[in-house]
Symmetry: C2
Subunit: 136 residues, 2 copies
């Protein structure tokens, strides 16, 4: 019975964004909710796209970059006009993401080492030798 479309408020509650944000994304052609009168109704497609938008943002992509990616994710609708172009763009993005992934994995390792070092320091503070902090 979920009519497969959602109001702007339902969307906001579901995805933790503001109405302004959804209207903004529409203005940038990232979303294209249907209109009933002048009310927006967000379809399953809009929801799928919004998920990808939010994900892309967490990876540090700009909305414009995300828009280009989204184009690939629904080439089904479109003509093959710019298909190859979009395909190439997506391949580049993939390379970006894989590089980012590798770098992230390395950064996590680094941070873990730092944390391990920090943990040991804390241990030695807690149960270490007499500290002369009461010298004043």
């Amino acid at each position: 019975m979920t009519e497969d479309v959602m109001t702007i408020r339902q969307m906001c509650d579901e995805y933790g964004v503001t109405p302004r944000t959804l209207r903004f994304y529409e203005s940038k052609e990232l979303l294209s909710p249907i209109r009933q009168g002048n009310r927006r109704l967000f379809t399953r497609r809009d929801r799928a796209r919004l998920k990808l938008i939010l994900r892309g943002k967490r990876f540090g992509f700009s909305l414009e970059e995300i828009r280009q990616l989204l184009d690939l994710y629904d080439m089904g609708d479109q003509q093959q006009t710019q298909f190859r172009r979009t395909y190439e763009i997506a391949k580049e993005r993939l390379v970006d993401m894989e590089r980012q992934r590798d770098e992230l994995i390395e950064a996590i390792e680094d941070l873990k080492e730092q944390l391990e070092w920090g943990r040991k320091m804390i241990e030695s503070f807690d149960s270490g030798p007499a500290t002369d902090t009461a010298k004043d």
Copy 2:
């Protein structure tokens, strides 16, 4: 013989940033080059920090978040005053990064699938049945 310090221009060439960016980072206390007269000289420490800054940016962290992370990476200098606090912050960041890593890995999988689909489409355009693009 590299004097272990670099001018602003050397830094820019080395890391692909502008002088403005380096000064901006200094104003935000992300870097603290020494001064010779009023010229900036960037040390090994500054360079290490800059690498981490640029990396953090690629992961979508804000400069403020990065600044907090940097504090951990050189706790060696500092007092243990806010040590535990910083340690906790870093642990949270680690969780963020691990979550991001997992999400990124998933996104890469998704995108790869899309690309595979796209590749097949292109193949069928190229060597598929007669295209009627040569109609006129």
